[in-house]
Assembly symmetry: C2
Homo-oligomer: 389 residues x 2
């Protein structure tokens, strides 16, 4: 398989890197620790208009990266993670808008994280990397925008953990954000969500190859633990109905039960494949840090209510949830909507009927395309946002 | 804490053992393999009446054992696993009925399983133990009843995997079973249920201390893997609502986030505790075998429909499900009810409103007590079952 580059594709793109927060201007994190320098991997699609008012920030989920759209090479098997939604004529129409996506801090896809070299020691940070939060991720993105000369976001959007960043943006930088599109997300990680993350982290940390996080020198990373963590994750991304339709109780390469412990159910084979594939591209320590950031996420923390947390929000909102998403169920999106409305924020809510579960945010393309492109067009009209030249 | 032995307790009880299927009369398993001898651990409560018609078989779930009710010693911290439901004046009223509970084959609580000594080698079976099914568990129970001189069951009941055994009993021994009370169960393990079990098994099998199942000689069992498996299980036993109420996002022994990877959420502490506690009483290989039996369970296998599977059923049914159980959701119980009705089986269905999730089958006591005792009284009346002398 090779790249499909048609008139709706952003084409061949390249990840760029910039180093920010050089000492003595380190980033001050929520934990109180200071971190710098921080290299940020990012990509951009489309052109900035002349008054720099058509920028849209795209925020990725747990396992995502800066490569949201297009292809890195004509030989790539797959395009960027949100390619269905980002390109000329798509939901985020790159013929009109300048889209930016960056890898989060703590990640392992080019932005500084636990697998990066600590310049003070010359060795990978490992667990000496400071714990980061969703707000810290947003601080780094804000600095990237400053570097790019962007002081206003026409919109900020993302699903799952990306949606958490969207909410954090609207709260922390109300004057910069004209609109926000949080998708399949929540204003706080639920106890059940924490529970699944706890299992994932324990799986990694009880793998002897994890070695207290200092596995980088051994060329033998904790793949069993990371694969297990990913398998648990995948169960939460699918609905019971989609699992039933996709796999049911069907056997893989067998006509009947083998009465042994070899892989035999299709769902088993799928989970093993997803788990093992993930270990080839993701760092186990980054999985610890990013899930921890998700578990810490709670906009009501230190507030009396979510409505109070949203008090300074000025962005217009389009909130999207999916009926069968049980990781971030629609009820959590409705809480966001209610709290925004309590602040007289202009908010549209759409609950899309889908049995894909949490994964729907990447799979239910058509309805989201229309919703997002219409919403963005209205915001662009309201703020007289010109098209790029 | 010590035993509470009141007028509703069966009091101090003792687990008994019997060895069945002595060669050359080995049990022929679903897999085609033959196994014997098989030692069975069992307990009984109450007295058999003179025409031996008041016997009730209680079937335990994944992590249960033969100790369903009462206390093994006055110093026990906890009674048997279904003590709330089994005793004089309780749901299964031991002043009227003779209740039997045995540990399943493949288990590790006294009945032959992978941790038992293989008499042919003098060493524990480990993974040379044959894979067993729910139907195999039922075959062993049927032989235990023969040994006890019981040819008719007034009822057979159990929750979760216990409920699967109940269904299998009604299908395989229709002439022996006068009534059946499957609780919080399903006629087939769902794809999602298989998926969670797959994760649990993989956690155990990727623990280096599992050693291909031959860990018994090392006094160093795969506790990390088994604890992880149990943690995943516990998440599926609770509902999102019960987790929110029980733990929410509250921290354990901390006022604020620690920004580290120590245990800090209450739900995290709970899961660790449950996982670690489980490893002190349960054998990792038994976890593999029993979850595999659950995953294989599918009454429709080889049939055109569940209704066809139930074609010879003669027992009256009381089917109980819980509104927030997402491991064996009410919809799966309603499928059982519909398939029984298609065969003109006399079936009552009760969906109990509860937010305890799957655990509700052990926690929602009052309503189940009434349902079960009324149902049993009606069956006993219909069959002129006398009280024991």
């Amino acid at each position: 398989m090779a790249a499909i580059i048609d008139e709706h594709s952003v084409g061949i793109v390249e990840t760029k890197y910039v180093t920010l927060f050089e000492p003595p201007n380190e980033l001050r994190l929520d934990s109180g620790e200071r971190l710098g320098p921080i290299t940020v991997a990012y990509e951009t699609y489309g052109k900035l208009n002349k008054d720099r008012s058509n920028a849209i920030l795209l925020c990725h989920a747990l396992s995502g990266d800066a490569h949201a759209a297009g292809w890195h090479s004509p030989h790539d098997a797959k395009p960027g993670w949100w390619d269905v939604m980002v390109g000329p004529g798509k939901g985020f129409d790159t013929s009109k808008y300048f889209c930016i996506c960056s890898n989060v801090i703590g990640g392992c896809m080019g932005t500084t994280g636990p697998s990066s070299i600590n310049p003070r020691t010359g060795r990978p940070y490992g667990l000496s990397f400071p714990v980061v939060t969703i707000a810290d991720m947003v601080r780094v993105q804000r600095e990237l925008l400053r570097y790019l000369g962007i002081e206003t976001l026409l919109s900020v959007s993302g699903g799952s953990m990306g949606g958490m960043q969207v909410l954090q943006w609207a709260v922390d930088y109300p004057d910069m954000v004209r609109s926000a599109i949080p998708i399949a997300t929540a204003a706080q990680q639920s106890a059940q969500g924490i529970a699944f993350d706890v299992v994932g982290r324990r799986a990694i940390m009880s793998d002897p190859k994890w070695r207290g996080g200092n596995y980088y020198a051994f060329n033998d990373p904790p793949v069993d633990g990371l694969a297990l963590a990913r398998m648990v994750g995948h169960i939460t991304y699918l609905s019971e109905a989609s699992m039933r339709r996709k796999f049911g109780r069907r056997l893989q390469d067998r006509e009947r039960y083998g009465y042994d412990f070899a892989t035999e159910f299709q769902v088993e084979s799928y989970l093993y494949y997803q788990g093992d594939k993930f270990t080839q591209r993701f760092d186990a320590n980054s999985y610890l840090y990013i899930t921890k950031a998700i578990d810490y996420f709670d906009l009501t923390n230190g507030k009396r209510s979510l409505a109070e947390a949203f008090r300074n929000v000025r962005a217009k909102f389009l909130v999207i949830a999916f009926s069968s998403d049980w990781l971030y169920p629609p009820a959590q999106s409705r809480e966001i909507v209610a709290a925004l409305k309590a602040n007289n924020v202009d908010v549209s809510y759409c609950e899309i009927e889908s049995d894909y579960g949490h994964d729907a945010f990447l799979l239910e393309v058509e309805e989201q395309r229309k919703l997002i492109s219409n919403f963005l067009a209205a915001v662009a009209r309201e703020f007289n946002v010109s098209e790029p030249e």
